[in-house]
Subunit: 559 residues, 2 copies
């Protein structure tokens, strides 16, 4: 970063609108090393995986909760909108880019301490900068008998960041916000609160139980702009006596609905205790390779006819799925029987995989293929990270698919923002019935192809009753016009899905203002926001309907 | 009720402080039949299972959500505090008695429609007047393959009332507030909101998924005075292929800690998917009979020495426990093995019971005892309702224990308020470690006996990591001085437990103002309350720290 003669950051062209005095206060609080204002850093922070116009005036990097509180007090004094990010890897939903223009980022990655670890009661208490990789390493170092739950995003993602966005993973602890408690939150004014029993003096049960007496506030701080979560307890699962994964494949598109009808009872009965992921062919291909530029002579999108040829050549189905079985050996054996029964006649291939078989298969892939007919070489490449995720092992692998439309291979460390990967995610929730999924698939297929994109879809049986239909619009931002095209596609997709009643469980920054508004729910959130953020400085616009924003008091002009 | 010449309710002595005009408005809204002001009805509503002084001015019985909204608007116009109850059976925590004096009750029992029932996705949507009995009957009538979860309170308890108080039951769906979604809430001003996806037009996933996009508000309406829940979706569990209960017994007091240490891994590993209840000897005896007045020559409390004799004579242990195993036959068999292994050397008796064995045992109790040595006659009386509860069958049986210190038998229908049963509950949460439970038990035993009451305790392994230690102070309100003595005991017990860090998951009306206050949590709730209930009319004082109440604007004087 550039430092002026007086040791304070240079006020550059883009940041000149920032009240110089606020910047001085922040700098004297954090030291110049932790107030970033140089052009390249700010530009990087203004870059998502789709077109954005918001400017970032500066990046503050507090090192403690006290500093976060003081940062907020300064923001209030000068009425400057600030936007907190944990690791900032919210790819496909806006990365680090603030919803409001001319915001100051508060980057929480220096708050990266693991504050508590309890093997017996199976939890860890962390700060927002703690990543999946860090927690996994801790568990390895301690030779812990506990598993974490990991998302398919980067190992360098923040645990808290994902949890407060209500992200999900792959084990029975896959609902990240539900599987935790005891939030410490810095409110917009700089005050701090704790949720659950932890707020009571000397309390014993804080990390072990979700609610204290009185209203439960945790939900207010997920997908919101009501506070900055600076600490959270995350529950961990004991490694089961035995783990086994199952992988299945359907050759025809129309097998999805009956498949889900057969899986629902297993989810409801608790035989399947974790999510089942079912991906369409486009999604699977994106996990195997980049766009087949040569075979298509550079034409896009990849038409269903060619996709069918690729499926047959590369030996994957119209739908491919996976799930995990956790328990004692006997329980897993029992669950296997139930899965086999449920999927009989519903899938064209069903394979179980455990550690022993995976190790064996890796060593004898060719022989194995000969013996079983199962194409292992490619399957193992695909299966290993998925298998790992079901055991809570973070992996970089799924991130590669963000480079689908790029013309060169991803270089390490992958950074979709930096590399111009185009990615827009939309994840409507549907009740777990085949008929709903058919509607969503029809809409996604039709609209994405119409706009020239591949309809990459995965269906996650996320709870006992609901499916998260994750649709990604993947493109190359370096191609002229594609940013606009993708956004138009996104808006069309979103509109048609909500017209049919399918709303996303999570929103990108481009869509937050379009949340339906004029009801009591929005009114209550507005009332809360006004009461606790009188200057409207904390992440204005984040998960806020447009009409709520009008009452937001912080603006971009601070002259 | 008394009706005046003009058809409006007579303003009686106790209700004269009520603005006559408000009463007129309510009466013209609901009709005189649903505005109750007669003395006996008001007196009954002012009666809990412990001493209270709050007066009830009138009881409003709205029949629809619209009427609830209009009731709130009138309350605001005249600044009269109102206090909503669903079925009003919050025994041991304050029954129907409002926290603030001179309140008007809003009795929601006429909102008793089951609005939706979905066998496939396993849920039911109900109004607050719907009781456990009603839902159970619906499931029977429909020959449903779904089970509800029931509390050990009366079959006539409200489902929503228990859920919003965060009550718990006995099956894997025992966390009543967690196992539901889609709240419809009338806010203090009369506005209405829906939580989750249900608030979006045409949404499909409302009853199937907890959160919509943006902050999750559900928790605000549990244990609070921020809104009146007028609708909720309650998830149901599919009847498992097989169910089996286990019952165990420890002869010595000091067996609790090692027992819990052995059960924790089973809870954490998901082998035990539901609560395990462990009751001490006093609790068990209270389930079998009333106080042994003859044997003690009328003296109280029942001393541990005599308790040990009774245990040996009636063949129960220092600790008796039960839990349920749910799943396929194979899973249950597997879980049985795990329970057997875990409890080996930890308990003095372990017995498994399924439907078949229960039917057999009931028919051949004597023979069974001869063959197995297990005292069945009494055990079956105790086991049957517990067995039923683990299958979601509501029962009146546990309520009998509220009559423990009475000198006559309970008469049907039981009504502890009417019958002068003294009952104060306190339910601190402890982390699931034996050492914590030993501390709680020591404190409860010492203090209750010191004040002349029997320390009746049950330990519920309520989640994977926490135990709800339910302590009841049970007495006869007809005995002079006992109300004061019980309350003094309660306060002492509560103080010593909180000094050691054990806080109750739920509070009685007498304790709500003592919630620890001067922190950000209380401040945020106060800010929300002020923002959405500007006149402070909705249940002032309910789960509100004393310092919050000072800002409450509704008072008892409306002249």
């Amino acid at each position: 970063m550039e430092v002026g003669t007086a040791g304070s950051p240079v006020i550059t062209e883009d940041s000149h609108r920032l009240a110089a005095e606020a910047l001085e206060r922040w700098t004297s609080l954090l030291s110049a090393a932790h107030v970033v204002t140089d052009d390249p850093s700010r530009k990087a922070a203004e870059t998502a995986t789709f077109a954005t116009t918001q400017k970032v005036c500066a990046i503050l990097r507090p090192g403690s909760r006290d500093e976060v509180q003081e940062c907020m007090r300064i923001a209030n004094r000068f009425r400057i909108p600030v936007y907190p990010v944990s690791s900032g890897k919210n790819w496909g939903y806006g990365s680090r880019v603030p919803v409001a223009d001319a915001s100051v980022l508060i980057d929480l990655s220096r708050l990266n301490r693991i504050l508590d670890f309890n093997e017996k009661l199976a939890y860890v208490t962390v700060e927002p900068g703690v990543t999946q990789r860090q927690l996994f390493q801790l568990l390895q170092d301690r030779r812990s008998a506990l598993w974490m739950d990991a998302t398919g995003s980067s190992p360098d993602c923040s645990l808290i960041g994902n949890a407060v966005e209500r992200g999900f993973g792959h084990t029975p602890y896959g609902d990240h916000f539900a599987q935790g408690c005891g939030l410490e939150v810095v409110l917009p004014t700089g005050a701090v609160l704790e949720t659950g029993f932890g707020r009571f003096p000397g309390s014993q049960a804080g990390p072990a139980y979700k609610s204290g007496a009185g209203p439960t506030l945790d939900g207010l701080f997920s997908q919101s702009n009501l506070g900055i979560v600076t600490r959270m307890t995350i529950w961990l699962m004991p490694a089961p006596e035995h783990f086994e994964a199952f992988f299945f494949q359907c050759n025809r598109e129309d097998q999805l609905a009956p498949l889900v009808e057969s899986l629902r009872p297993l989810r409801l009965q608790g035989i399947l205790r974790s999510t089942v992921h079912v991906a369409n062919d486009y999604k699977v291909l994106g996990g195997i390779q980049q766009y087949p530029w040569q075979e298509t002579d550079g034409a896009t999108p990849l038409r269903p006819e060619l996709m069918r040829q690729l499926r047959s050549r590369l030996k994957f189905g119209a739908w491919s799925g996976s799930g995990g079985l956790y328990g004692t050996r006997g329980q897993v054996a029992e669950a296997k029987r139930a899965v086999r029964r449920a999927l009989k006649d519903k899938v064209d291939r069903l394979q179980f995989l455990d550690d022993r078989r995976l190790a064996f298969a890796s060593r004898f892939a060719k022989l194995y293929q000969f013996l079983t007919g199962w194409d292992l070489s490619r399957t193992l490449d695909l299966a290993r990270p998925v298998f790992g995720l079901m055991k809570g092992v973070p992996t970089e692998k799924p991130l590669e698919s963000a480079y689908w439309r790029k013309k060169s291979l991803p270089s390490a460390p992958m950074d979709p923002d930096r590399d111009g990967c185009g990615l827009l995610w939309h994840a409507p929730i549907a009740p777990m019935e085949g008929r709903h999924l058919d509607v969503v698939v029809e809409i996604a297929n039709r609209i994405l192809l119409e706009y020239g994109f591949e309809p990459s879809i995965s269906m996650t049986l996320i709870t006992e009753r609901a499916v998260a239909c994750v649709i990604s619009i993947c493109y190359d931002r370096a191609e002229p016009g594609q940013d606009d095209q993708a956004m138009a596609c996104y808006r069309h997709l979103r509109q048609e899905l909500t017209d049919r009643g399918y709303y996303s469980y999570r929103l990108g920054i481009q869509a937050m203002s379009e949340m339906s508004g004029p009801d009591g729910h929005a009114g209550l959130i507005r009332a809360i926001k006004n009461a606790i953020d009188p200057n409207g400085v904390l992440a204005p616009g984040r998960y806020e309907p447009a009409e709520n924003r009008e009452s937001s008091k912080a603006t971009a002009s601070h002259e």
